[in-house]
């Protein structure tokens, strides 16, 4: 027995490697973060995280209130209230499930509730496809949610820990949604380094709601109605909190690297093969896999193509990104989403990238938008090559449609 105790203690102290999916990695992060209240309601592909969490709970590995609500709206409302009462919380959803929670999603940032949620990105209904599209999580982009897209199970785990740390920082107190591409990330297993509890405890302080704690010892009223005399000031406070996120994120990534020995470089976006690149592609999430493979292939053919993967979409690191992009002669943004009727009919990311460039001081490369991989359709290496061709054309000043659909039967 004494020997077993030592083995168990060793486990607490040391990292281990496990073969797990992105969803499971998020569930493991919940365990490591010792989350207090988790609410769930099944919808694919988010429901995978729900299964892993319930397994952890029933195995006695995670001690939390695990509530299966009667729908997503209640699911998000319950954690909102629990979080206001000082509990560290986790929840999540996908596609139209996320939309059904919309009212709760809108009030959460205004109430400064640092809820951490996982969005298993899924196409919105109809036609009820299960595959990935980013429009679900993007619907809250204006509301005060921090939004991050991860591309591996490892990044999912690490980002969840960082999300707790940043969201629950008293300077921030904003919710955070971690987007994991449906199927590509939620359902595929990869080898993940699971950090020791000791390291996590060092990295992640307890959630302290401080002056905003809803508790009999701190009698406050939360969410009284206010009219035009109050609304602008309340919105301005959220603006200030979101403005502070970048610095707090940087601190958290630095600290993360010191404790866990894993570095993500620039927290906001990942650069791949950009040092000598002529043109770059951009995108979010697991799109990085086919893009990176295609770039390796094209580089062998002498094409100097790079890739910038946006990690944090909110806050959007506009100045840094514009500076980065000013080094290239053209940019191709691949959106796994749509924004019908938007400027140039582009996807959301392309529109934001153009907007970031417009007011930046440096050189402004042409931006071509591509819509690809909707509903979980595969983005193939030849697709990426076609995209690259379009971007090269733009770089050479050849007229290009500003939005192009890739991988469409036509």
């Amino acid at each position: 027995m004494a020997q077993l105790a030592t083995v168990l203690e060793d486990q607490r102290q040391t990292d281990e490697t496990a073969l797990i999916t992105g969803s499971e990695a998020i569930a493991v992060a919940c365990k490591l973060a010792d989350v207090d209240v988790i609410t769930a309601y099944p919808i694919r592909p988010y429901d995978t995280v729900m299964q892993y969490v319930s397994k952890l709970v029933s195995n006695g590995e995670l001690d939390c209130e695990y509530i299966v609500a009667e729908g997503e709206h209640s699911q998000f409302e319950i954690v909102k209230h629990a979080c206001a009462a000082g509990a560290r919380v986790f929840c999540g959803s996908s596609g139209v499930g996320w939309m059904y929670a919309m009212e709760a999603l809108t009030v959460t940032p205004a109430l400064r509730v640092p809820m951490v949620a996982m969005v298993g990105n899924r196409a919105l209904d109809d036609p009820g496809a299960f595959g990935v599209e980013h429009n679900d999580a993007l619907t809250v982009r204006d509301l005060g949610w921090q939004l991050v897209w991860v591309d591996t199970a490892q990044e999912a785990l690490d980002t969840a820990l960082i999300a707790y740390r940043v969201s629950e920082d008293r300077r921030i107190f904003l919710p955070c949604a971690i987007s994991c591409d449906g199927a590509f990330l939620t359902h595929s297993q990869a080898l993940v380094q699971i950090p020791s509890q000791k390291k996590v405890n060092e990295f992640l302080p307890r959630y302290n709601r401080a002056d905003l704690l809803l508790h009999p010892d701190n009698p406050i009223t939360v969410a009284p109605q206010g009219n035009e005399d109050w609304v602008m000031e309340i919105r301005r406070q959220n603006y200030a909190a979101m403005e502070r996120v970048s610095d707090v994120l940087r601190e958290a990534y630095d600290h993360f690297e010191r404790i866990f020995g894993r570095s993500y470089g620039n927290p906001f976006f990942e650069e791949f093969e950009t040092d000598d690149a002529d043109i770059v592609l951009m995108g979010m999430g697991t799109l990085s896999t086919p893009v990176k493979v295609a770039i390796r292939k094209m580089r062998k053919e002498g094409k100097k193509v790079g890739f910038v993967r946006m990690r944090w979409f909110r806050p959007f690191a506009a100045a840094e990104l514009a500076e980065c992009l000013s080094r290239f002669s053209a940019v191709g943004v691949v959106d796994r989403d749509y924004s019908f009727g938007s400027p140039y009919m582009s996807g959301v990311l392309a529109t934001e990238v153009r907007s970031a460039l417009y007011s930046a001081p440096g050189k402004k490369p042409p931006v071509v938008g591509f819509i690809a991989g909707l509903g979980g359709r595969e983005v193939t290496v030849p697709d990426v090559e076609r995209i690259t061709e379009g971007v090269y054309n733009a770089a050479q000043g050849r007229p290009q449609p500003l939005t192009q659909w890739i991988g469409l039967r036509e």
């Binding site: 509730v113 905003l212 009698p219 009223t221 969410a223 009284p224 005399d229 309340i234 301005r236």
Partner: protein, 390 residues
Amino acid sequence: MGRLFAIEIIYRGIYQKTLASRISRAIVLAAHQEGKPGISFGRYGDSPERNGIPAKNFAIVGTDQETLEQGMAKYEPKEVDITIAVDDTLFKGVESWAWYGLQPVNKLLKPGGTLIVTSRETPEALIKMAHRKETPYQLAIVKGTPSFSGLWVYKDDHTDVRILGAIAKLLPELFSLKSVQKAIVNEWKDPVKAESAARSCERISTTEVMPNQGNPEIPYKFEFPKWHEMGEGIAIPSIPAGRAVEDPVSHATGGFRPDRNPTFKKFTTRTMRPVVNFDTCIKCTLCWLQCPDSCFDVTPEGLYDANMQACCGCGVCEAVCPVKDCVTMVNESEFGDNASQWEDWKKDKAAYKIWLEDKIKTRSERSHGFRYRGQYEEQIPEMLRIAREG
């Protein structure tokens, strides 16, 4: 630029909502008869329209479209030619909601503007209730009991058209009586209403109110905090628990007075207030339990004193009190201050008894809604007399 006219109608939320919007609508329609464009609007809200809370409607008219747009560019006019108060207890002021403080009823009036009120009171009694204003203004009384025409009922006692007739006399530049009558016939198809307007136009007269007349109190008000001074997360500190009450004579302490919202005193939300006979109270606690606004302070000897900072004048305490005439609702215009009745009783019980009897005898009624079945019928002879004699 032409001339811009602004008129506000102050009313009691819900009870007089329809009345106020009818008046402001008819003002615009009458002006339209003379080719003047206008708009009619209310500041909508949630609580501001709840029972008895003072609320406002506005009619803005311009001699031409461009002038009108100048006036419309403001959410709420900063000054008005005419203020109409459709309930005379509103003369004590307007607390539309939390944080606005107490607005004098005459606050928005331009120098020399006119305050029209429907009332049976004398000018002297009314002037006493309103706060002092730096510049002189005119007071015009449309004689009658304050009408109530809210969400559920419309008491068609011609208050609307009588006010319109009065405006034709007081501000002829806005519209003539003829235009008012045309608008009335178009809108209500009722020639009798047009008659009422003419009679009111003929009878209305004004009294000048000077800066040294009226309630000298400085109304309480608040500064809004800046965004970075406010607490975050739409969380506000709760109102602290209360404390014991001090006897004004013996200085003994006991009982309990809950702390109350410091930014919303409800002095002006009521049209009646309860007066309590402490000599006959049997301390049954019912008023204290049932009051929806937790108004009752518990005195050291276990009596219940309705605190006027909190009372909205609903009348529940009167309805639940098991002792005859122990709690009686009395018209708010009968009171000059918000002092504690219990303290007055403590200081001089004989004087309090005389005061109490006088209050109950004169005006135990409310201006909208009735205390008992048949009270409306009782008012009709007086209303008819006013209609005949003015």
